[in-house]
């Protein structure tokens, strides 16, 4: 069963990669030889290059905003009383329970009503809202694994709350914060459902792909898709390596990991 499931998961993606190297412009079997021409087509396309730069700028800006805000929010969840923490959690995890179509549309509705032009900033806001719950989820898991005795020791030794946070809490969760930030970059790069509604004239990579798929089916889209997959995989590998390094000592110290009930 697992084997069948893995084939089901991987073969379609492998086919996309395979035909990105196709020598002719057809996307059907038989396969007629290898060529890199479609990569040349896509990588020299100024629109695609522009979309990549724009996407990275959006993702970078969104993550720079989300990391400090999300870290503080996740930390506050450990300090607040249960009821207030639940209210904060409810607000932050709200994007999980609404279809993204509704979120994108509601943002667009308000911007149109207020006369705010759809632009870079509106995409960044959409992406911040979209990635914040993932970020807070991961970081608060890491925070809940911290040893409360250590924090208490710091406090009784006279450390101010700011000092406890910066000298005791932050160093321990920093690797997880970095992993969560990379994940957020990956999520932001792929985001389409909200972006479509709040984007101005400039295109992100998924919007560019969407426009291409709508018009034609050509191996150049396979090449663009493969490039995007490679980018995602690089980020995933980065996350995985960082997580492995950080989780090993933590796991040894605390064998029972709390399963968060956030749903």
């Amino acid at each position: 069963m697992t084997f069948v499931a893995m084939i089901f998961l991987l073969v379609p993606l492998a086919v996309v990669v395979l035909f990105s190297f196709h020598a002719t412009d057809s996307l059907s079997l038989p396969f007629e030889g290898f060529s890199l021409r479609w990569y040349e087509v896509i990588l020299t396309d100024p629109q695609f290059r522009g979309a990549i730069l724009y996407t990275l700028r959006v993702a970078g800006t969104a993550v720079l905003i989300v990391v400090p805000i999300g870290t503080l929010a996740a930390y506050s969840l450990t300090l607040l009383r249960k009821r207030s923490a639940n209210v904060v959690r409810l607000l932050i995890f709200l994007p999980f329970v609404f279809p993204l179509l509704f979120i994108g549309l509601s943002m667009r509705t308000v911007y149109v009503y207020l006369g705010i032009p759809l632009q870079f900033g509106t995409i960044v806001v959409g992406h911040c809202i979209f990635v914040l719950p993932y970020f807070v989820l991961i970081v608060s898991q890491a925070l809940s694994r911290l040893d409360p005795n250590v924090l208490e020791a710091a406090r009784t030794l006279g450390a101010s709350p700011v000092r406890v946070f910066s000298k005791v809490v932050l160093p321990q969760v920093l690797p997880v914060i970095i992993v969560a930030a990379v994940l957020c970059v990956a999520l932001s790069i792929d985001e389409f459902a909200i972006t479509y509604w709040v984007a101005g004239p400039d295109q992100t990579v998924p919007m560019f792909l969407f426009g291409l798929i709508r018009r034609v089916v050509s191996p150049s889209i396979n090449a663009a898709s493969t490039a995007l997959m490679v980018l995602s995989l690089i980020m995933f590998a980065g996350c995985a390596v960082a997580l492995r390094r950080t989780l090993r000592p933590a796991r040894a110290a605390a064998p029972s990991v709390n399963e968060k009930e956030w749903t």
Binding site: V16, F102, V110, C128, L151, I213, S225, S232
Partner: protein
């Protein structure tokens, strides 16, 4: 959550360590620390309220306004709701959305469950990490790339058709592979399986092997072990997974555009059209609000089902 009580403990012990225990100042300090905790949460919560909650409220409020071409005007009315509720097209789209979402959700859970079971209890450590790693990596593959993959696989000149013709199994390409709700559901399953496996794996992790072993020692066969031990413990996470796959699939508007064709059209496309093509904002917002109510009802029914079958309050014994 071991850390949630940390502040309270610290505040409670503070007066004892001070020379004279002044309850008033301790109370003030408690208040101050609580206030600063609120301050930490403020940017995120205020941001969510201003940039998400208010827009959502405005959006749903739009459904009660009078439609104007690409605009709205004041007299409040239920017109959009009655129109949507009495439209046979909306009815048909709703049925397709529900069918596609339910098909995708059921298939996702049905595939993810045995995979997770295998990963948790049967796989060797090496195979387990390879498969988990691959599944987690596929989580990162873009939604549009997956959609495009199925489009090129199932198209009339696509890989499946041309492959079958080439091998000689069929003479003519099968047109029916694309453009119905089935390919939409298949692509949705493809997107959802990694999420489902990871969610179910997390839920299965605390279920110790010793439970299954003791069930086995007490004479339970494998069907009874599934029925009496595994399924009751996994019912809640399975229901959650089912619900979220259903929600994401049935509200999608991109996949049905490319893979669904005319027969696979869903409500999301209708909302898209109301906003961008027709310019009837209240009409689109009313549809969205009605969908949200239906989702709420389905979620409540699932919870009720769990409660009635008495599996909701099963606790892990770890």
């Amino acid at each position: 959550m071991p850390t949630s009580s940390v502040t309270e403990v610290a505040v409670a012990e503070d007066p004892a360590t001070a020379t004279g225990p002044p309850p008033l100042s301790a109370g003030i300090r408690g208040l101050a620390s609580r206030a600063s905790s609120y301050l930490l949460a403020a940017p995120a919560t205020l941001g969510m309220i201003v940039l998400l909650v208010i827009p959502l409220l405005v959006f749903f409020f739009y459904s009660f306004l009078t439609p104007q071409p690409y605009s709205v005007s004041l007299p409040l009315t239920f017109q959009s709701f009655t129109q949507a509720a009495s439209s046979p097209i909306v009815y048909k789209l709703a049925l397709t959305s529900i069918r596609t979402g339910a098909m995708a959700a059921a298939l996702t859970v049905a595939i993810a469950l045995p995979v997770t079971y295998w990963l948790r209890y049967q796989a060797g450590p090496r195979m387990r990490s390879v498969v988990l790693f691959t599944i987690a990596a596929s989580l990162f593959v873009s939604y549009l790339v997956r959609l495009y993959a199925w489009l090129t696989l199932l198209g009339s000149q696509g890989v499946v058709n041309s492959g079958l013709v080439g091998v000689g199994i069929i003479d003519e390409p099968i047109g029916a592979l694309l453009f119905s709700s089935t390919p939409v559901a298949i692509a949705a399953v493809h997107i959802s399986i990694p999420f489902a496996v990871i969610a179910l794996y997390a839920a299965m992790r605390p279920l110790d092997e010793s439970y299954l072993e003791s069930a086995h020692d007490l004479g339970a066969n494998s069907w009874q072990r599934w029925r009496r031990v595994i399924l009751p413990l996994l019912a809640a996470p399975m229901a959650t997974t089912f619900f979220f796959v259903f929600l994401l699939t049935s509200a999608d508007w991109v996949m049905p555009v490319f893979l669904g064709g005319r027969d696979g059209q869903m409500l999301g496309q209708r909302i898209y059209d109301q906003f961008l093509t027709i310019g009837n904002y209240p009409g689109g917002a009313a549809l969205a609000l009605m969908m949200l109510v239906v989702y709420g009802v389905i979620f409540a029914l699932l919870q009720l089902l769990l409660r009635v079958s008495k599996v909701r309050n099963v606790r892990w014994g770890t």
